[in-house]
Structures are given as C-alpha cells and as structure tokens.
Symmetry: D2
Subunit: 129 residues, 4 copies
C-alpha cells in the first residue's frame, strides 16, 4: 500500500463548505505518482507509459478544509495490459471516499495497449494490499 498525505486547499472547497467532489479525482491521480514510477522511475513525460481507462469514486462522508487527508492506494486487480488501483481518502479516522481507477499500459506513439512486462507485474503484486 502506498500512503500519501494531502493538505486540502482553500480553493478545493466549494460553496457547500466542504471539499468539492471533483477534487477527490485530482487527489487520487496525484497519489498514483508512486505507481507511475513503477513504469517510469524518472516520470519521463516524453515516453509516458500509461493511460486511464476509467475512474469511479464513492463518496461516503464530507471532506473538509483544515485537516490533513491520508490517501491509501493499492493494486486491486492485475490483468494482461491493465490493472486497477483502489484508493481511499481518510480524514480524522474516517474513510470519506473510495475510488477505483483502471490503468492500461499504453504506447502513445502507436496508440496501442501493451501487455504488462513480468517485472511490472511483479512490482504491482508487491502492492496488492
């Protein structure tokens, strides 16, 4: 499991006084950086190796400004070319949001999915909980 700390930003609140729901998608992507590094240790944007196929987020409780958020991320499924990341946003002891993102190993030049290598698969398996 990867754990990242997020300090909610004032601009991430909305008129209801809590963190806007779309911000959680941003936080979850931000907290996939260590997973990106399995595929590109240097985070080389010229040869980016992944594409997002889908995201889904369940909102369980309202997140607020002023208290740190812990985002937990792990690999919940490994396919042939794709894998799924499950992520949770915790604030003050509560799991406030849980999401899943399906990522595909992708060659942007040929615009094609590519099978995961055995090294990538092994690295992903180390973070399956």
């Amino acid at each position: 499991m990867f754990t990242e700390m997020i300090q909610p930003r004032f601009s991430e609140t909305d008129a209801l006084g809590h963190i806007n729901n779309t911000v959680v998608a941003v936080w979850f992507e931000a907290c996939r950086t260590p997973i990106f590094q399995i595929f590109s240790p240097e985070l080389d944007l010229q040869r980016w190796p992944l594409i997002v196929a889908s995201i889904a987020i369940d909102f369980k409780a309202q997140l607020h400004y002023g208290d740190e958020v812990e985002v937990r991320s792990w690999i919940s499924r490994i396919g042939n070319s794709s894998f799924e990341v499950t992520q949770q946003a915790w604030q003050q002891g509560h799991c406030c949001a849980e999401g899943r993102a399906a990522l595909v190993r992708f060659d942007y030049q040929s615009q094609k999915a590519m099978p995961l290598s055995s090294e990538q698969r092994a690295a992903l398996e180390q973070h399956n909980q």
Copy 2:
C-alpha cells in the same frame, strides 16, 4: 436530454497533450446545472438540495484542446431519494467519455437524505433520454 457546449481550456490539458482525465469530472458536474435547477430554480447555495453519492467515468478516446465539446446529460435511473445522471462528452463526432453520477436529495441541516417529491420525480422523468 440536456446539451451543453464546453470550450476546452488550455489549463485543462496535461503533459500528454490532451485534456486531463480529471477535467471530465469537472465538465460533467458543470453540465448538471440544469438538473440542479429542477431542485433549486434559483441555484440557491444557502439551501442546496443535493449531494453526490458516486461518480464513474469511462474514457473512450482522448479529448483535445481546440475543438468544442458537447456534453449530453440525461436521467438514467430514478430511485426513492436518489437518481442517476448519465453523461457523454462528444468531440468531432466521437463519444470520448461517458459517466454516471448518483445524486441524492439531501438536507444539509439535518444531514439526511430526503425522498424525491412527486414534482421532482415528474421533472426528472421528462429527461430520461
């Protein structure tokens, strides 16, 4: 069906040269405004009547800067207190992303879900395709 036009913004691209996936969640929320108006014609933020329970988005093709996007939104399910909005982002004749959002009629003061009124239900039913 509700139809809204979005002009992609330069700041909405990412280093891969396309619209960042998290932006689609923002566009979809923005294009739910006419649905919000079923519940609050004045869009009264002091008595906001809805909460987002979940969102899910499938990314089918890359969206790019420089061409307008048409977002189509309709009501795909009506429950007791909740309903589902399905939304699509079209660019140059392609459906590039499709999402679903589950919204709940919600009283922020008592922090409780509330059943949809028959008027709200009837209004939602008019946009079920």
Copy 3:
C-alpha cells in the same frame, strides 16, 4: 476587443459562497485563446509560440455561481518580443475583476524569446481596445 462568455461552474465556488479568486486566472487564460490563434491559427501544441511572463489580477467585486460572466480582452501594450493583454470579467453589469498578462513570443526548442513579426504586430494592433 475579444468577448467570451463563461458559465461559472459549481466546482469553481469556494467555501465563502463565491467564485474562488484563483479561478479568474483560469478564465482569463481560457479567454486568451483567440489571441493564441493570432500566433497559431491551428492552436498547434507541438509548436506553441508563447510563454506567460507575468499575470496580475485586481478583484473588485465578488463573482457568483448562477449568472454568466463576460470576459473582455484587448491588447494594452506591444513591445519588441512581448505584449500585454488586459482582461475584465463582467457579471450582471459590474466589472468584478480586471487583470493583465504579459506574454512573450517564445521558441520552446531554443528556450529563447523571439521578436514579434510585423504581421503579428499588425494583428495585435487591431485589438488594442
């Protein structure tokens, strides 16, 4: 003068119930697209011709969700390699924010500023008010 209409988005509000100040910077950049097209009619991201040297925004009144915003943009200064865009955000008959952005014609490959061509200068001069 260029005029663009912006529909404020729910996610652009903040906990104070108005549009967050950082959003105006995003709107102003979005509304410089017709100015970008003077330099790159196709908005070719592979050969982007401009870089932002500075921005400044004065906030005069609070912008709110639920009413359209008109952004007016014009060229307020033309230098050798650079020029200044002045922009205003109007809502319900009030100028709520005014900003200036200094843009520089820039070659990203050599990482150098380039003098404006006489054609670019002439095109900018057509929008100096």
Copy 4:
C-alpha cells in the same frame, strides 16, 4: 517566513509539459493557510476574516512535474486594513515564480473592510522576512 512543500500533480501540467501558470496561483493560496490561521486559528469558514484584493505573479523559470516545490511566504507590507504577502516557488534551487497577494481584513456580513487589530499586526510583523 513560512515554508510549505508542494508535490506537483500530474493534472497540474499542461500540454507544454510544464506546470500550468494558473496552478501557481493555487499553490500560493494553499500556502497562505498559516497566514489565515493568524486571523482564524480554527480556519472557521463560517466567519472567514479575509478577502483577496489582488494577486500578481512573475514567472521566472518553468516548473515541472516530478520534483518537490518549496513555497516561501512572508509579509511584505502592513497597511491599515490590508497587508501584502510575497511568495516564491523554488524548485531544484531555482526561484521559478514570485508573487504578491494583497489581503484585506473583511467582515463578510457587513461586506466591509476592518482595521487590523494590534494583535494581528504584531503577529504579521513576526513574519516580515
């Protein structure tokens, strides 16, 4: 001086491969949280005590994804009701952006500026470099 660390997010890049200029305004606001706490230790959004009168940012070098950013903030001017925060974004030993924000002590109920108290003034003076 206040110092905050920012981990640039993938969604904060733009098609030019660097951090979009509008993101710096967001980071700078986020890093004013310890200054907000001088006015509202609990960050009480119901009685928010400040409004932004203006922001200005000079971009000196391109900020990139993959390396941490240090934001330094200090009080560069104290007026009667207002004060100015100067902020810098440093990455890999370079000052990449410098900005100023003018903040005003503000009563949202009466919609009026209020003079800084002597306690607030003293607290601000402790962070004047």
